[in-house]
């Protein structure tokens, strides 16, 4: 029963983190009612963190918050490279001195402060301190690295198994071979065309599995939310954008600046719209993935939190059933979003490499 086990883990984890959060909020001046606390917790989860925490609790004897997890290196560029362990930040409680400068973490972001760690706020309670360039190996970076290593091992293994077994896949790769073929036969070839698809295969395959694996990783109880981060989806969409425009052929640019088959006036009107479309296409990719995954996480966590809001057997078990079904749907969404991102990228590449002859018949 892996699914049941997985949900059990989620529940256990969320329960432990949630309860500790409740205790923490008593110490601080944070909102104390359960609902706003849940909201804060969910928003906190959606963000990247400087350390890889699995759970946290408050030590009863000392009254201090204890975090279970591992610290990660913080790398700052602030008039030179500053590297220190995230454990020194103590989740925003400590001021860290590195290379003569002082840094403090506030709501997951690192600010440059004075030796006392003073953070100044503007009218809307946003810190006005200087933010140094943060190249830290955050939780998301670790997750990306982990996924990259898994992918390398998995697909290198698949490639090697062909050599050992005379063109027949063996091991875990056997499961992924049909998916590789699916990406080729159902995503790349129909959208790009038999002639040009080969050039884009490596990117499409990497993209598809990268998004899919990270989406799935986001559903594990490790509290990872990589593909629901705008920087990640921006990077992916940017690569699609660059590849599309680098491989753009004559027909592609002609369709943007001088749309064939329409009156001259329309050509002039269409040019800026089409030009805008060049940006909007990858932009929609970025927002779609970000929004879908974030929304999935928010819905799932809200439903799990509802169990603690209701605190009775009927409401809580109903929320549990709902959370269970949503998490199954999320497994599907994980695959679907990877598929959509890949298909649309392939479609844009298809537009870019489309040749004049292909156009005449539609």
């Amino acid at each position: 029963m892996p699914k049941g086990f997985y949900l059990f883990l989620i529940t256990i984890l969320l329960f432990s983190v949630n309860s500790s959060y409740a205790k923490e909020s008593e110490n601080e001046n944070a909102p104390t009612d359960l609902k706003s606390e849940i909201k804060a917790y969910i928003l906190h989860h959606l963000e990247d963190t400087h350390d890889f925490n699995l759970l946290s609790y408050t030590d009863d004897t000392s009254g201090e918050k204890v975090y279970v997890g591992m610290p990660l290196p913080v790398i700052l560029w602030d008039e030179g490279l500053k590297i220190f362990s995230s454990s020194k930040l103590k989740h925003g409680k400590n001021v860290v001195e590195a290379g003569g400068n002082y840094y403090k973490s506030y709501h997951g972001k690192i600010y440059k402060t004075d030796a006392q760690g003073t953070i100044e706020y503007d009218d809307s309670h946003h810190p006005t301190n200087v933010k140094p360039l943060d190249f830290s190996i955050t939780k998301n970076v670790v997750s990306i690295l982990f996924t990259a290593i898994i992918m390398l091992l998995l697909f290198k293994g698949l490639a090697d198994s062909y050599n050992k077994n005379g063109m027949i896949a063996k091991g875990v790769g056997r499961f992924f071979e049909p998916i590789v073929l699916y990406v080729r036969d159902e995503i790349a070839i129909p959208n790009i065309g038999e002639k040009h698809y080969k050039r884009f295969m490596s990117y499409l395959l990497t993209l598809f599995f990268f998004i899919w694996f990270l989406n799935l990783l986001g559903l594990t109880p490790l509290g990872i939310n990589v593909t629901g981060n705008i920087a990640i989806t921006f990077a992916l969409a940017l690569i699609t954008f660059i590849i599309t425009n680098i491989s753009g052929k004559k027909t592609y640019w002609k369709h943007i600046f001088w749309m064939p088959g329409v009156p001259v006036l329309m050509k002039i009107v269409l040019a800026p719209i089409e030009l805008l479309g060049v940006i909007i296409k990858p932009f929609s990719l970025m927002i779609r993935l970000y929004a879908n995954i974030s929304a999935g996480h928010i819905v799932l966590m809200s439903l799990i939190s509802l169990m603690f809001v209701f605190r009775n057997w009927l409401g809580s078990s109903l929320s549990f059933a709902l959370a269970f079904s949503i998490s199954i749907i999320e497994i599907l969404v994980a695959l679907l979003q990877a598929y959509i991102f890949t298909v649309l990228s392939a479609l844009y590449f298809g537009f870019a490499v489309e040749e004049h002859d292909d156009h005449d018949d539609h």
């Binding site: 990306i144 697909f155 063109m167 080969k198 920087a231 990640i232």
Partner: protein, 165 residues
């Protein structure tokens, strides 16, 4: 939107771009290229095998057709041979019959001729014998007629008497 921009972490973007591009290059070299090459190779070998099987099937069919044709031809030839043999046989029999008839006729003719010859020879022989016998009888008769003087005298008388006629 404001929140999205404030949330945007340049560091994460940087790492994501770096790791992704590295991953892409490594996977391309060590995984995607060998995988796709192998799969393509496998597919083309399957296609080739299918084509070969199809060709073999076609060849088989054509061989079978040839066989059928040869069999048919052989049958027709046998038919023709049999027919020819039959007509030949009849001809031979007819020929033999006529030949036999001719021979028989010849033999009969020869027999008749030889019979005629024999008959003629026999007649001749008979004639000769009859003449011989007649001579002998005449001799004997003469002998017996002239064995006494009176008779001789009588004969002479007679002959003289005849002669003087």
């Amino acid at each position: 939107m404001d929140k999205l921009i404030s949330e945007f972490s340049f560091g994460l973007f940087f790492w994501q771009l770096l790791i992704f591009v590295f991953l892409l290059l490594l996977l391309k070299k060590f995984a995607w290229k060998p995988i796709l090459d192998t799969v393509n190779e496998r597919e083309s070998s399957i296609k080739e095998a299918m084509n070969k099987a199809e060709a073999a099937k076609k060849e088989m069919a054509s061989i079978q057709e040839d066989n059928q044709k040869i069999l048919k031809e052989a049958r027709a030839e046998r038919e023709a041979l049999l027919k020819e043999a039959r007509t030949n046989g009849a001809e031979i029999v007819a020929q033999a019959k006529t030949d036999a008839q001719a021979e028989a006729d010849k033999v009969i003719a020869q027999a008749q001729e030889s019979i005629q010859n024999e008959k003629r020879a026999a007649i001749n022989e008979l004639k000769n014998q009859v003449a011989q016998i007649s001579l002998e009888i005449a001799e004997k008769v003469i002998d017996s007629e002239l064995d006494s003087k009176d008779k001789q005298a009588k004969l002479v008388d007679k002959l003289i008497k005849d002669a003087s006629l």
